[in-house]
Amino acid sequence: MNKIVKYVITDILRNRIIIIYTLFLLASALTVFSLEDNSSKGLLSLLNIILIVVPLVSIIFSTIYVYNSAEFIELLVSQPLRRKSIWLSIFTGLASSLALAFFIGAGIPILLYQANMIGLTMILSGTVLSVIFVAIALLSAVQTRDKAKGIGAAIMLWLYFSLLFDGLVLFLLFQFSDYPLEKPMIGISALNPIDLTRILILLQLDVSAMMGYTGAVFKDFFGTYPGLVFSCAVLLLWIALPIWLSTKKFKSKDL
């Protein structure tokens, strides 16, 4: 398995996109931090960039990579290798190179300007988000052979997680504004990894005071130890579940 991971990573590093992505993150992080004199304000601006860009690049790059390596996968499947280890190697290769790109691009500047709990939470969330969206990309790419359909699905998924989901939540809140929705909101936030990481980071910043009563409920829940364990477990589930499903599908796929 390690051998395949090695070939996947060398193949990805030979691709210039991942280097451009790293440089982009590096440039935006440094700009944001040097523009604001208060580095926690800079962190907030960086948060918004990260929550949009990291999932987008992770999901699109992984989907395109899987489709472009169709030949490579076919070649590997005809060799004495377990299908499961082929698929998991591709996942490991993609996840580790995207996580590494995030760490170099955004992690190092954060460590330079904000080496505290908030900064660390942000680095961890960004890394976990990269891995989650690689897992989601693999799940959507294994469903169809059609490249155009696959990339379309990846874009729709990203749009859903970063825009449509929030719209749906707002809609729900307005429709049911007569009922106490603060507690169910915690459950609903678990349905979207981007929202979950956003809440986790915002709670560490002082701005959570501005989120009103819901913010107070969130702080009560996510600010505690069980809440933290819950959110970590949910994030891990967001990695494990798509990977488990896609491996199952890949094992019975005709190539």
Binding site: K3, I4, Y7, D11, R14, S69, A70, E71, F72, E74, L75, L76, V77, S78, Q79, P80, L81, R82, R83, S252, D254, L255
Partner: protein
Amino acid sequence: MIIVKNISKQFGKLKALNNISTSCNKGECIALIGPNGSGKTTLIKCILGMVLPDSGTLTFNGKDISGDWQYRSKIGYMPQIGRYPDNMSIGQVLNMMTDIRSPETVLDEDLVRAFSIDKLLDKRMRTLSGGTVQKVSAALAFMFNPEVLILDEPTAGLDPIASELFKEKILAEKEKGKLVLITSHILSDLDDLVSRVIYMQEGSLIFHKSIEELRRDTGEERLVKSIAQVMAMNYE
């Protein structure tokens, strides 16, 4: 060595394989013949585990292959259209395959030399012509001294000299007691190679005969003519 039992496979509405049963033994060189779309490649892919049959069983050396993967280390497969990672050079592909298969025996590099692939090691896969890719596929199939060779349209893109060299190599391997499964539409290439013939049509296996039987039944000496007769009979 390979026993196929009641294999069926459906792609959507198309019945690619319809209840196929046959067996292949050591030291045989079997030709898989049939019109386009008769299910030859699907059958080969089933044996390799690339396509999973809807029903039926496949055994390799007495062991069921479903869920197994180690048996593939005994197979050398040359695909109809060899496709390799574009960015890799020939040398990298050869090294990678050696790395993945980690062979215990010495590598068989006869074809690498015969096709002078060793002079092209730095070339990227995407810059190669179709014929050169075929040569790389052929060299890879033979490289790890497999017990079974599965060759899907091997001579389709090869030039006459390469094709002759390749046929000599197949004969040499057959003499060593290996099982060779070969599909081709160029029947004249198969004439002096094969010992048995499997004829398929529309996903069904029409017959599996030794070449002597086929000659006797059709009354023709050359494979081309006997198969032409069979095809005409089944063509309607």
